[in-house]
């Protein structure tokens, strides 16, 4: 399929606008609300999508086996303590998302600091 690297550029034209089905929906986040309330509507509507991402990530971690699976156990176990070290209002926002989605708070925290974990 396709080329081997290094890749040759294929400069396409006339791709804009794409079909409207690919346009991303907009939500308002009210910063006047307390942190725990701000994401309620977004988290409620996208609950399953967030769960799917984390379930897939969990599977990926478990595939490493051994100690990797223990790490996930620790994330769930220590979740409430981990979120406590984050700055505000992020602590409360993450707690609010966890409440609405029913996802363990440690897992929502991990999702939010994923960049730092992943850059290694």
């Amino acid at each position: 399929q396709g080329q081997s690297p290094p890749y040759e550029a294929e400069c396409v034209e006339g791709k804009y606008p794409p079909p409207s089905s690919r346009r991303v929906k907009e939500y308002v986040v009210n910063l006047d609300l307390p942190g725990k309330e701000r994401w309620k509507h977004v988290a409620a509507e996208k609950k399953q999508e967030i769960k799917n991402i984390l379930a897939s990530f969990k599977k990926y971690i478990y595939d490493f086996g051994g100690i990797a699976a223990e790490i996930w156990y620790l994330i769930d176990l220590l979740g409430p303590a981990i979120v406590d070290v984050l700055p505000q209002p992020f602590q409360d926002e993450i707690r609010g998302i966890s409440d609405v989605t029913g996802i363990e708070i440690g897992e929502v925290t991990l999702y939010n600091i994923f960049y730092e974990i992943f850059t290694v």
Partner: protein, 252 residues
């Protein structure tokens, strides 16, 4: 990821990006897709952060993520963030945070920047002077011609590099996931194709449709691309499109 800030012949700035994510996280050989990438797409949302009923900034997020990777402060500045891989990465930063209490999480720094900075200058100051937990590239653009740069960040403030649009070629600046002074890894060179397409586009072609075409060109568009976001700061304009890369398409 690929971020581009380009200025048209009138000096109007456009800022756009592809967000690529999910490398090595579950390849589906049947559909030739990355598992996490496919799951991230339905979670993409545009957000309008408001205070007192007025927009403070707009962003593109994966639902459940409260930090910022792509955002616009209407009339003031635009910001995108690209991942920077170094050995002195996130784990060391996390250990340092535990031991010394020093370091800011990337997504929270960008969020604070979007909420607090009143100008390009203030945003640049926040993004260059805050100790971080992991390295990153910040692509920042203001509201006047030439006001665009790529900030290459280490965890520490020392060694921060700012690469201005005028040094990068005059009318655009482009960043993927490599330091601008180094060659990209030959198996992951999206920079050369993107530059080729920008040069083919020319400054006359700069605008939302032209930049979207560049970001829709393989391998700038690849199997990891989840969305393309397009911003014009003076109009406060942000639009986001889900991206797919049908075969034949590069896996990254």
């Amino acid at each position: 990821c690929t971020s581009i800030v380009a200025q048209d012949s009138n000096g109007t700035l456009y800022h756009a990006r592809n967000l690529d994510f999910g490398l090595f996280m579950g390849w589906d050989p049947k559909n030739r897709t990355w598992e996490i990438t496919e799951l991230l797409r339905p979670a993409i949302v545009n957000l309008d952060f408001q205070r007192g009923g007025k927009t403070v900034f707009k962003s593109v997020n994966y639902a459940g993520y409260v930090g910022i990777l792509t955002a616009i402060s209407p009339g003031k500045f635009t910001l995108t963030m690209n991942e920077r891989f170094t050995l002195d990465g996130g784990y060391i930063g996390i250990i340092n945070l535990i031991l010394t209490g020093k370091g800011t999480w990337m997504g929270f720094l960008t969020r604070a920047t979007m909420e607090k900075a009143e100008s390009f200058k203030e945003a640049r100051a926040m993004l260059t002077s805050t100790q971080m937990i992991a390295p990153a590239y910040f692509i920042l653009a203001g509201n006047t011609s030439g006001q665009a740069c790529v900030i290459t960040r280490n965890r520490e403030v020392n060694g921060t590099d700012t690469w201005w649009m005028k040094e990068a070629g005059g009318w655009y600046v482009l960043e993927t996931n490599y330091d601008h002074w180094s060659k990209p890894l030959f198996v992951d060179d999206r920079r050369t194709p993107a530059n080729k397409c920008m040069k083919k586009l020319t400054q006359k072609g700069v605008g939302i449709p032209g930049i979207f075409d560049v970001l829709s060109s393989r391998p700038v568009l690849n199997k990891l691309t989840t969305y393309t976001a397009l911003m014009q700061v003076n109009q406060g304009h942000l639009e986001t499109w889900l991206q797919y890369c049908p075969d034949p398409c590069f896996p990254w």
